[in-house]
Amino acid sequence: MPASRPLIPSGLTLLNWFLRGWTALVFVFLYAPIAVLVVFSFNSSRLNIVWESFTFTWYERLAANTPLIRAAKNSLIVATATTILSVVIGTAGAWLLHRYRFRFSRAIQTLVAIPMVMPEILLGISLLIMFVTIGLNLGFASVIIGHVTFSFPFVLVAVQARLQGLDSSLEEAALDLGATPLKAFWLVIVPSLRPAIMAGGLMAFTLSMDELIVTVFVKSAASATLPVKVFDMARVGLNPMLNALSAIFIVATVAFVLFSEYLKKLSR
């Protein structure tokens, strides 16, 4: 290091300190509101401004709130159906697009990407118009169709990424030993794709559980999901029950993130 430039290393140290401090601040910004939400879900004050005393009241009220429980059940029904359909369509699609050279392969791949990137509100309104045009009554089917449309591409992409790292000689060996392509897929490919399929399915489930924008347009009163109800409640104002609900969701999200990290490690 030439002596004429002694400032640079100290400049770098300074930069390092800046980066470290900045990152810490941003994490405080990201987590403080969430922490506030969780802490005040245990506060007995109705207005949740000042800390009064510790209570489980809001969780009890939440458990007794029939419309919310109903919406939560709707969300679980929709998310489960969405996950199953997305995993089937996404996994089959990923394998077929990987395994065969279809005419229009590229066009199909582009088509798959559209629902992932297009603004959700556009998917919502166009599906709504479509359902009304063909005379499909809004209900669970319309919500599930909407959710599968933007969820399965995520499964497909996750599985495709895994397929790219897969040793194709495994499948060839199965084929050489007399397995049909379908059997080889089921017995050889699927087991080695399992972590990616599970990660994709988990992603589809979470996307579906959290989705609001498309759902607002394609739901009926009876098939309103939890986010739709939460949105309506949050519009009215503060409600400690929502804090309690949020706390549950946050814990579930942390579990989800840890589990999907674990799956990622498995698929390496």
Binding site: R5, I8, L12, L15, L19, W22, T23, V26, F29, L30, Y31, P33, I34, V36, L37, N48, I49, V50, I89, A92, G93, L96, L97, R101, I108, L111, V112, I114, P115, P119, E120, I121, L122, L123, S126, L127, I129, M130, T149, F152, E172, L175, D176, P181, D210, I213, V216, F217, P227, F231, A234, R235, G237, L238, L242, S246, F249, I250, V257, E261
Partner: protein, 292 residues
Amino acid sequence: MLAGTAPAVPVSDHNRPGWKAWALLAPMVLWLILFVVVPGLILLVYSFCERDEIGGVMFTFTWENYARVFDPVYLRIFGRSVWYAALTTAICAVVGYPVAYYIARVPETLRNKLLLLVMVPFWTSFLIRTFAWITILKQEGLLNSLVKAMGAGIGPFDLLYTPTAVVIGLVYAYLPFMILPIYGSAEKLDNSLIEAAYDLGASPVRAFSSVIVPLTMPGIAAGTLLVFVPAIGMFAITDLMGGAKVPMIGNVIQNQFLLARNWPFGAALGVVFMLMFVVTYVILQRRASRSA
């Protein structure tokens, strides 16, 4: 072109889809055509239709809906949506870049932990995270009670239902979507290039602006895509944080479909928005995929 990659089975035959493969792929392709392509086309048709008195749709051709889209009232809302989305994107980039860069530079064990810390807000419902800010910014919320408790004699501040609140909500919701892609390209950054810049006498600022930023441009472009596009059409955050005071294009579209029941006009707004999206997407996608 495929010959010779796998000698045991003739590859061209091996990879050529039979009717069975086509039959298996068909449901997915049909799904996409039926629920993405066709609805998009119907939307286009509706945008040229007329609305009757009771909110139904008459299939008579008209340009009127598009003429109304270019009414100054709606142009202003479009402009505001783009401006807020752009502001959100810029703030996310400035705030998120150092974080992404720092995470990409630290040793692997710490890096994985920090990444987990980004993933949790990334996957937490934006609705919940927006609600968190409502509890903080509301007039009788946490911030004002803190100010009051300190007894500084200022406040209470009316922060909720202001443009500032909308931008805070948007930045808070989308920041992780900017950090992750930038991290992705910062992680691939070749250290020797930065060292070369220093060895050649560049200051940290110079090295950053002429070496590091250009090399991480694909990440910035991808992050912009993930923040800017959804932020333009977002109606839930703007609704919750801005009330009815700061309507954005998403709120107007939602109103036309769910309250005003003027579907043709809503469809026209949707088509214009779709065009804006496609143009933005193509430009950013080109930048994002341009390898450094």
